[in-house]
């Protein structure tokens, strides 16, 4: 279960309790004076995907931004391999890849240039080259076209190909299937499965029913 008996004010987590690489304890998020969620706990093991669900405005994106280290929780901590991520941010960010609402790709660069840049920003190169990653998301043939000329779905694929070139262990994905066609969704699901088979972790939001091994998918419901 995801529920952990932890106190949000308790910074020191007993090392024995830390087995899951990704651990969130007592997260609380406020937007203005509206409480999105509080006492949110999450434990994610290698090979598991956390599918965060909730109605619009329930704080799914905020949660993912907190998990990725982009934003700070108002209360509580995110721990990666037993360490609060803010205390070891470069190490953590070396192992995380985030694809948010915005693709984070440059319209005036080609997919290949975008991926080469993403690779240079990462801690190390993944096992796939930029070309291989583009082939993996079925964008071969478009690698030298400016992203401005690509369709929304193809841009999304370029952004998702970034996951493959950096060798990240934890993927944080915010609605990754937006704008993708049926085949695109299938391709990304295959990549997700491969990543999970390699002991990767995924935290994602989607309204799409994932076609993955049911034992691997952890459904997490955010309250309204």
């Amino acid at each position: 279960m995801t529920a952990l008996a932890s106190n949000s004010h308790d910074r020191a987590v007993a090392p024995s309790a830390v087995q899951a690489p990704l651990l969130a304890c007592g997260l609380e998020c406020l937007r203005g004076d509206r409480l999105l969620f509080s006492q949110f706990d999450l434990e994610l093991l290698p090979g598991e995907v956390a599918q965060i669900e909730g109605p619009n405005g329930s704080g799914k994106t905020s949660l993912l931004r907190i998990l990725s280290g982009l934003a700070l929780a108002d209360e509580g901590d995110v721990l990666w391999r037993g360490e609060v991520i803010q205390y070891a941010l470069p190490e953590y960010q070396g192992e995380v890849a985030y694809v948010g609402h915005h693709n984070g790709i440059k319209m005036d660069l080609t997919p290949l240039e975008n991926l080469a840049f993403a690779q240079a920003m990462a801690a190390g190169k993944g096992h796939l080259s930029a070309m291989q990653a583009l082939a993996a998301v079925k964008l071969d043939g478009f690698e030298d076209m400016l992203c401005r000329r690509l369709s929304a779905g193809q841009r999304r694929r370029t952004a998702l190909a970034r996951l493959l070139v950096t060798g990240a262990v934890l993927w944080v994905l915010d609605e990754p299937f937006t704008a993708l066609d049926r085949e695109g969704i299938r391709v990304i699901e295959e990549l997700l499965e491969l990543h999970l088979n390699n002991d990767g972790l995924v935290a994602m939001t989607t309204h799409h029913e994932l076609h993955l091994d049911i034992s691997r998918v952890k459904h997490i419901q955010l309250p309204q």
Binding site: L70, V96, Y98, H101, H102, I105, A116, A120, M121, G124
Partner: protein, 227 residues
């Protein structure tokens, strides 16, 4: 896994930003055109007196450079913010301050450097004496990177706001004033044959100060703007 060094990452940022600027040439041309237009309109509005032009030349050139700098400054992080690249930059495991410094360097290369190249031509337009020219160039070489570095802090703070242009001017103009005073002071001193080393040293010191501290402040401001 092949490790990627910080210098490789910084080089990639500079290379990407230069490539983007090159594909968007109007963005390079805009501050240059602004600089040329402002400086060439000034003589038309003044008395046709060569002596007067010579006196106001350093001031006009510097004010135009400063305003051109502010105008182009807002674009430093704007498009990266809008398309999500900035999030990716902040999420990079490499030191954000150094990545930001690389962005500032690339930005200065496309907006600041052309002004330095143009300045002598504008100087000739104003009949600036040849012996004042080197001092003017040196002040621009020391001063324009300074403007970019200080401006980056303000730009990072307002990047989340939709209409931050005026706010940016209010934020950074007071910080630009010392640069303006010492730079034009140096050229004015040179034109009457006084030593200029003092002003140049101050500009140099300010440049070193902002080179070391501004990227840190900018990185912190970006993290705040994005969280």
């Amino acid at each position: 896994m092949n490790r990627i060094t910080v210098s490789e990452a910084c080089r990639a940022v500079i290379k990407r930003d230069l490539l983007l600027a090159f594909r968007h040439r109007s963005e390079i041309a805009n501050p240059m055109l602004f600089f040329i237009i402002v400086t060439s309109i000034f003589p038309l509005a003044m008395r046709p007196d060569p002596e007067l032009l010579r006196t106001i030349a350093p001031g006009v050139i510097w004010v135009a450079a400063l305003l051109a700098g502010i105008l182009s400054q807002e674009r430093l992080f704007r498009s990266d913010y809008e398309d999500g690249s900035l999030e990716q930059l902040v999420l990079s495991p490499h030191p954000l301050s150094l990545l930001v410094l690389s962005k500032i360097v690339a930005h200065w290369l496309v907006t600041g450097l052309p002004l330095i190249v143009l300045a002598p031509l504008i100087g000739i337009l104003f009949q600036l004496p040849a012996q004042d020219m080197p001092v003017l160039i040196i002040t621009l070489v020391l001063g324009t990177p300074l403007l970019s570095l200080v401006g980056a802090i303000g730009t990072a703070l307002i990047v989340g706001l939709s209409r931050g242009g005026v706010l940016l001017s209010l934020l950074v103009l007071p910080l630009y004033v010392p640069v303006l005073i010492f730079a034009t002071g140096a050229v004015a001193a040179a034109s009457v044959g006084l030593p200029v080393a003092g002003q140049l040293y101050i500009l140099g010191a300010l440049l070193v100060l902002s080179l070391t501290l501004a990227p840190l402040a900018t990185a912190a401001a970006l993290r705040i703007s994005l969280s």
